[in-house]
Symmetry: C2
Subunit: 217 residues, 2 copies
DNA sequence: TAAAAAGTTTAGATTACCCTAAAAAAATAA
DNA sequence: TTATTTTTTTAGGGTAATCTAAACTTTTTA
């Protein structure tokens, strides 16, 4: 069984590696986990001994199949709990991440299966992120940043950034998962976009914001 | 903020002290927490420095007002989570304790307030144990062990022992919180009882069992 | 009430995780 | 290609929580 800390490292490595695709560097992990590179080197050796990652000195770290399975279990739990907090307890989508960071470490396969069932086997969390099933399988949707949908109509599917400040901003201007956005114009000056939400309200959003809204056409 | 371990010590001390009434000895704590007396001495000093307990060498430990407040917060969380697991997720009453031991350490006052509301502000958990409100207040019911209700009719209000084996046994013979029990006879031989459940099924239960079922007349 | 037993504390280690500072390797620039 | 900068690792320590063994205190027994 993995410790709380080991689970956090593994999950972070999984995310940084683009779902296991690429190697992850010591400093990236240190930055993401808010710790020092020396601490990362220590932990990375430990995870390598447990066969969760492959570690090559000075080169970086690659997640193994076994490590990926563990990481996906944690991510599944995180996203199921976020869904619970929003759907059942009435949390806002910007309030759930920190609590889910704690809840994801609760050890009880039965609990997770029952929670999944209670929620109706959701396929995505409140931020549009896919929830792996109990075997770690999930659908990868073809989504593009809103910034690449100039002149088009698109449906909001997910957010790339889940920070409370960004989510609060989206709520404030009326953008939500499932909203229909029409990208009316892109400003030459700063690449900001003029969009129309659900055929009604028109607003301007920054380039930064437009890159963190994921849509399908 | 208290660590996971500190919270467990404090909660255990509260329970062993009869809600703060009496002093608790080092070996009792060690036994309850499944650790060595030497470890208890260390931790007890730490909790005393934080003013959660009063510690007197070789004499034992008494919980302070501040310690009681902290302990009741943890107990509140434990019992709310147990209620959630049974009422919403369909767990059996014997399956919830170990999971609640983990969930009780999640730090989020907002989560607990919302969970409480979601559950309809329950006053007791699945084992009939009172759930303190957000100020640590709860009703202490006058309950007696079934063993002391010879010849009488009584309603099951709580269990004294929450072990899965005892709870499974109760479920199997048809005893549950709220059941009406008529104590028909007490056997001289071994103090076992003949009881009738809800005016129907008659069963014999051991002295041990009869002491762990709490009822009101 | 003195000796034995039981209970408790102290001393000294161990493990997990994290840190700073110095050394080593790799990447980049001159 | 050598020198400089950046990245990573190693060395050496610190804290929280645990343990064993030895010392000390209290309680019980004889
Ligand atoms: Mn999240
Ligand atoms: Mn999410
Ligand atoms: Mn319990
Ligand atoms: Mn309970």
């Amino acid at each position: 069984m993995l410790s709380f800390t080991e689970e956090n490292y593994l999950k972070t490595i999984y995310h940084l590696s683009d779902s296991g695709a690429k190697a992850v560097l010591t400093n990236e992990i240190a930055e993401a986990i808010q710790t020092k590179p020396a601490s990362v080197t220590d932990m990375v050796k430990k995870l390598a001994i447990k066969n969760l990652i492959a570690y090559e000195k000075y080169y970086g770290v690659k997640i193994t199949r076994q490590g990926k399975t563990e990481a996906l279990t944690i991510i599944r739990k995180h996203r199921l709990w976020e869904t619970f907090l929003v759907e059942k307890l009435g949390f806002n989508w910007g309030e759930v991440h920190d609590v889910a960071e704690q809840l994801e470490h609760i050890q009880s396969p039965l609990l997770i299966e029952k929670l999944d069932e209670f929620l109706g086997f959701p396929s995505a969390d409140p931020h549009g992120h896919p929830i792996p099933d109990k075997n770690g399988k999930f659908k990868v949707a073809r989504q593009i940043p809103l910034a690449e949908a100039i002149g088009k109509k698109a449906i909001v599917r997910a957010v790339k950034n889940s920070s409370p400040s960004f989510l609060d901003y989206l709520s404030k201007i009326g953008v939500y998962i499932g909203a229909s956005l029409h990208v009316l114009a892109k400003m030459d000056f700063d690449a900001s976009l003029e969009i129309q939400i659900d055929g009604k309200k028109k607003v301007y959003i920054s380039k930064e914001a437009s890159e963190n809204i994921l849509v399908t056409e």
